[in-house]
């Protein structure tokens, strides 16, 4: 706490101060200063200054949160990070001295105390939480995150920013609250804003039906996929794309206002308020593919071959095909195993068991 903060407290007392258990007011009998630990009344200004000096945490905490031009969404997020609504000031200050950790998607945010109650923020990938900062590429400009979020650890482009594939090996340090929120917003755009709207009960969710009905151009076709025959297809979309293993947003959109999907929306900290552009683009392709009628095919497969096909689909769907070791021929999705199956079961035109795709021919 410093003199400027005490001056500010004295100046604010006339209008009343009420922040995290600190209450200060000017009454006809003098100043009143109250914390959960007790109250002092009938104080003149020097006495108010004295009692303020005895409670530096409460005063500097009030001072930090009174910053006037901080947008409400930023205040709400920063306070949530340090658990300001749940923990008392002394409890929090003790924790802040060690550093309070909070998680946001794959981000680990650390809040620490700077001078006079000022907070300092740092953010890195949760997987790097225990690595010494010297091992990480250190940044201070939030906009640097634009490049970091473009590629995953394997160097592949990330078209969906909330996919759980954020690259590791970096840290943003020495951020003030504004810069922290900016950095988070670059990594996971609009998530803080939508989280805040949700907390205020004002999140505007656009469900599947209305979102697809809004589409035009090449995406206009998607609305024909909804035939009033149920919403199972949308369950499949949500299971394919929106599962926590694929996207860290918590899906809040449903089939329509009256019809919830049967698939769980996930446990993410921040909500998804409408099908994203990736889902819309994929839905266009599925609309085309799902317009086909099923046909009956006859294949000969050994039981192990049937299971191998299932293994391959699982490995691709779970993104694990690349991790199966070269010589691990015990895995159905192993490359040699797949090549063997192809050599045995495909004809010269790449058809399974020589069966023509179009059964009408």
């Amino acid at each position: 706490m410093n003199d400027r903060q005490v001056d500010a407290l004295v100046a604010a007392a006339g209008d009343g101060v009420d922040c995290d258990g600190l209450r200060v007011a000017e009454t006809p009998d003098g100043y009143r200063f109250e914390t959960p630990g007790g109250a002092a009344e009938g104080l003149d200004e020097p006495a108010l200054r004295d009692v303020a000096a005895e409670n530096p945490w409460f005063v500097s905490n009030w001072y930090y949160w009174r910053e006037l031009d901080r947008p409400a969404v930023e205040t709400a997020f920063l306070r949530w990070l340090e658990g300001a609504d749940d923990r008392s000031v002394p409890d929090r200050y003790e924790a802040l001295a060690e550093g309070i950790e909070a998680s946001w998607g794959e981000l680990a945010v650390e809040v620490t105390l700077g001078d006079d109650g000022h907070r300092t923020y740092a953010v890195r990938h949760a997987d790097d939480a225990d690595r010494p900062v010297e091992e990480l590429a250190v940044h201070t400009d939030p906009l640097d995150a634009r490049e970091l979020v473009k590629y995953d650890d394997r160097g592949r482009y990330r078209p969906l920013k909330t996919a759980p594939t954020l690259q590791t090996g970096w840290a943003f340090v020495d951020l003030d609250g504004r810069s922290l929120v900016r950095a988070v917003d670059v990594v996971y755009p609009a998530t803080v804003t939508n989280w805040h709207l949700e907390r205020q009960g004002e999140l505007d969710v656009s469900h599947w039906r209305e979102t697809m009905e809004r589409q035009t151009g090449i995406y206009g076709v998607i609305r024909t996929w909804d035939r009033g025959e149920g919403y199972e297809h949308v369950n499949w979309v949500a299971e394919a794309c929106c599962d926590d293993s694929q996207c860290l947003k918590r899906r809040e959109w449903e089939y329509d206002d009256d019809t919830d999907l049967d698939v769980d929306g996930g446990d993410g900290a921040f909500p998804c308020r409408e099908p994203c552009s990736l889902v819309v683009a994929a839905a266009r392709q599925w609309t085309k593919l799902e317009g086909e009628q099923p046909q009956t095919y006859e294949f000969e497969l050994t039981p192990s071959e049937k299971e191998q096909i299932e293994d391959i689909i699982d490995a691709v769907a779970d993104g694990e095909a690349g991790e199966i070791r070269e010589a691990d021929v015990y895995e159905g999705a192993n490359r040699y195993r797949a090549r063997f199956l192809r050599a045995k079961r495909f004809d010269g035109d790449g058809r399974l068991d020589g069966v023509s795709t179009d059964q009408s021919r």
């Binding site: 947008p71 906009l143 920013k161 609009a190 505007d204 809004r214």
Partner: protein, 298 residues
């Protein structure tokens, strides 16, 4: 308080699609005349749908980093930004003359000055010329040189061809290049036959695209015969049918594009101070004092 939001297409597949948008946003941010400079994308995040809620200002200038008026600028963007009062006449445009319209974004209650696309702004002619200077590394390029401005044809969007022709005509009127031609990807005169349309030995080819991608880095170089296989790259200039072809890549990557974005916002009422001059100075081809084109006062 005033904010600028640059809206662009972006891509699910191409990591570089957003790069020019970010770079122009940075240039304008550094000029310091907007309280916030943000970007939003059709295919990336933040989406058009969610960008406005992340800006603080009640007054937002939205500039589309698109080449022509059409489907995106007239249907998709106004719809996704929830500019409910928008209709096709809001810009009162003949296809290349849109300036701006002031509307309310109904989900956030903010005032949106929705600007015409950068591609049809007069200053875009200067960017095309600047692009020619950059690729030839010659701030005085023009004499003895032919300039081809390349775009999609009318097939996808009638206004797209109009924008190409508009700038080709404007640049031709300046008498700086010996010849100036508008060429197209999917109709005559076709870019495939680029050397047929020029007498000049040197031909500078500037595609009017926002970002480099499939068309500018694969299609056009192969179609013009700069290379048989885009993956092996090409020379600049490349010898084609006895001409030297200087292929510039997407005009949208030229730093001077930031100037067009600023001018759009300024014409819609944004207070940009002397940022237009500052950006023009900063993005100039190194080592030159001449200005791009004739329309640019310093």
């Amino acid at each position: 308080m005033q904010s600028l939001v640059i809206v662009a297409h972006g891509s699910h597949l191409n990591p570089d699609a957003s790069t020019p948008t970010y770079e122009h946003a940075d240039t304008i941010r550094d000029a310091g005349v907007f309280d916030e400079v943000r970007t939003a994308f059709w295919k990336e995040e933040p989406s058009f749908r969610e960008a406005l809620r992340t800006v603080q200002a009640e007054e937002v200038y939205v500039v589309p980093l698109f080449i022509s008026e059409g489907y995106f600028t007239e249907q998709v963007i106004p719809r996704e930004l929830r500019l409910e009062e928008w209709d096709d006449d809001a810009w009162e445009s003949d296809g290349t003359s849109a300036t701006h319209a002031t509307l309310e974004a109904t989900d956030v209650g903010k005032t949106v000055h929705y600007c015409g696309p950068v591609g049809t702004h007069d200053a875009m002619s200067d960017v095309i010329v600047r692009r020619a200077e950059t690729v030839t590394d010659d701030p005085g390029v023009g004499e003895g040189v032919g300039l081809a401005v390349v775009g999609h044809g009318t097939e996808r969007n009638e206004n797209s061809a109009k924008a190409i022709e508009y700038h080709a005509d404007r640049i031709a009127e300046r008498d700086r290049f010996d010849e100036v031609k508008a060429l197209f990807m999917d109709e005559d005169p076709e870019v495939d036959d680029v050397t047929d349309f020029f007498d000049s030995d040197d031909i500078v080819v500037v595609p009017l695209f926002v970002a480099d991608g499939y068309h500018t880095q694969e299609d056009i170089p192969e179609d013009m015969g700069l290379t048989d296989d885009y993956r092996t790259g090409w020379e600049t200039p490349a010898a084609v049918d006895g001409h030297d072809v200087w292929y510039a890549g997407a005009v949208g990557t030229e730093p001077l594009m930031a100037d067009v974005v600023l001018e759009r916002a300024a014409e819609a009422g944004a207070d940009v101070g002397d940022a237009v001059e500052a950006v023009r100075r900063r993005t100039r081809v190194a080592g030159t004092d001449t200005e791009a084109g004739t329309g640019a006062g310093d």
